[in-house]
Symmetry: C2
Subunit: 375 residues, 2 copies
DNA sequence: CTGAAAGCGCTAACAC
DNA sequence: GTGTTAGCGCTTTCAG
């Protein structure tokens, strides 16, 4: 309609029209301080008539607060991070804040650039899933010194920032106990190279619980590549081509597991009859593939909510950081044999197993252990 | 390390340290105006020593330019929009701009709120895939009057803003000609209810080309619900339960197609032997499902690039808007029978068919028709 | 090439 | 409750 782009209307024009001062307009519109009903009416009317839209930039400069949060993820397109982004966006929206989304593309330099930009933009906080366990450290550390920052899912070595994620050790316990109950006595593990914390913790958990349950593993059954379908396929093919197949293939994320399922199908290996397969993350397609994937589900909305909460809590932070490890749960589908006890649970229905209370003093044996040093 | 959050360092402190004026510091750091080498050195050193980080907010207020763009999508989690977001983020990153990501959650009111916020934040432009063909009109229209705005993929009725997407008519031509060549003589269509432009155009294209090719359709073979796996499954079950199955099921997006594939598998209907199935969007999982899905691929990076380009072009816009319909291509996989000509193309390799030049005067018969009224 | 100074639009003291 | 005023940190005329 309006062909020409009109100059933005300012608070001063509204003030003039309403016959009050700019301060009064600010107060009336923001609702921060009391204003007489009569004046509020006049200001509202004037604002509406002029099509006043406000200028958050000016407001932000004055208040030194932008009501924005930056989020940096290794790959927007990885369905797990997509879900996390969605959850964070929703949590922020509920608070009237907006989200700067940054994709670091698994590149430490890109990531560092994003962190710098976000800091310069005066975001109120940053939520990051760092792309590398050590390479990301300098940038994360420098940024955290200036701005509230919480790490999500993964965290870098040598920093002391807030973190929220899932208890990877407990996840591995759920997975391996389930496989063991389903009859598996040996297992392989396909993951990414150990460039970040959760990848390391998942492998450590796999090793410990496999040993504890007496499930056999072999060095050449630990395959480390990257979080992708293609790697999962290649790694599983390596297993299939090797000497002897394990009873189960435990994958460090669902993409890898999907690749493994494909390799099995392509090579006539029956899942779960010949080999059981598990994933991690419970992405949407885990329920859709054939066979549907048994996988670890992370409480994404809670992770996001905690992260957002920590951002604000961090304002008055001391030296200690909060580490919040939430309880994972296991979603049992058709890629694993059902345990005897749950065998009657119905054909296509997902069976959900939740991590219980801590069973030992090892920090990652029990789930939902929140070692928060701050309220 | 640094336990306390230090007050941000300003240009004035850098100026003091370097022994120059703030104006000079600004010029040296931004590189906008020439500065003597000696002074540049001193300023750079001072900035580095103090850890100067800049304040984009202050800069933005002064320059009335934020180097940010807002993007609003109906659902972040829909893999097609996720891809679009990724492409846009990358395109913006190349320009040194950052992205506000907003999820309208298919809700016109939420969407309108996002548009208002973005406008108040003084974003340089907005890229939106409106959630409703008519319900979104007022907000889109009002926003476009104040800020460069381009619609992506879908567009609302009654506005005159820039738009970039794919030629839906051409897509349907590719799909139906392929199915026809593969022997299909009748087809059903599963889509979302007609609440937006591209949904309407896909149905119109389906109808026209089916008729042109002499492929049979029936009223109860046109099933309209929503873009989801679940709807695709239910709709396909309705078809299977009905009297007589069509030779092909054409789906308006890949999620629907995945649901349809599942329904077929669950009911013992062989794909593509009993019925051929096609999708739309070429999401990642289209290549992974069983059978892999023949689908329409949209040039997402180009769509994003054009959108970003239009945002800037729009600055000097007149009354007319650009409508850019890019050429889709068809990715042929295992959910359709190969056409005789391409039957030798190899087992698992995807075959790609690109929309050619316009073949008739109908605007959507030929693809890659760019009716841009602006350079 | 450099400095002084105005001011982007808004909010928070501070008066009244 | 309301007005006056200073100033957030930066960029940009305008002089020199």
């Amino acid at each position: 309609m309006e062909g020409t782009r009109v100059h933005r209307v300012t608070i001063a024009q509204v003030a003039a029209r309403a016959g009050v001062s700019t301060a009064t307009v600010s107060r009336a519109l923001s609702g921060n301080r009391p204003v007489s009903a009569e004046i509020r009416r006049r200001v509202d009317a004037a604002a509406r008539e002029l099509g006043y839209a406000g200028n958050t930039i000016a407001s932000a400069l004055r208040r030194s607060r932008t009501d924005t949060v930056g989020m940096v993820v290794p790959s927007i397109r990885n369905p797990f991070f997509t879900s996390l982004v969605e959850s964070v966006e929703h949590a922020l929206h509920d608070q009237g804040r907006q989200l700067f989304l940054c994709d670091s593309r698994q590149d430490v330099a890109v990531e560092a650039g994003h962190l710098r930009s976000l800091a310069a933009r005066q975001v109120d906080g940053i939520i990051i899933s760092p792309c590398h366990g050590s390479g990301s450290t300098p940038a994360v550390e420098a940024t955290a010194a200036a701005i509230p920052l919480v790490q999500l899912d993964r965290h870098v070595a040598g920093t002391n920032t807030d973190w929220v994620g899932v208890d990877d050790g407990a996840s591995m316990r759920l997975v391996l106990e389930h496989l063991h109950a389903a009859g598996a006595r040996s297992a392989a593990f396909i993951s990414s190279t150990l460039t970040n914390s959760s990848t390391e913790l998942r492998l450590a958990g796999f090793r410990r619980h496999a040993e504890r349950l007496g499930m056999g593993t072999r060095d050449d059954w630990i395959l480390l590549g990257e979080y992708s379908v293609e790697w999962g396929r290649r790694a599983a093919e390596t297993l299939i081509a090797g000497s002897g197949l394990p009873d189960a293939i435990v994958c460090a994320d669902d993409l890898i597991a999907l690749g493994a399922l494909r390799a099995c199908r392509d090579h006539g290996v029956a899942v779960p009859a010949d080999v059981q397969v598990t994933g991690y993350d419970d992405i949407d397609f885990a329920a859709l593939c054939e066979p549907a994937l048994t996988t670890v589900s992370q409480p994404r909305d809670r992770i996001a909510a905690e992260a957002v909460r920590l951002l604000d809590a961090a304002a008055g932070a001391g030296a200690t950081a909060a580490h919040i490890a939430l309880a994972p749960s296991l979603v049992v589908r058709q890629s694993t044999a059902p345990a005897p006890a749950t065998a009657t649970a119905g054909a296509r229905l997902d069976v959900r197993v939740r991590a219980g209370q801590p069973r030992s003093s090892r920090s990652d044996e029990g789930a939902h252990q929140e070692s928060s040093s701050r309220p």
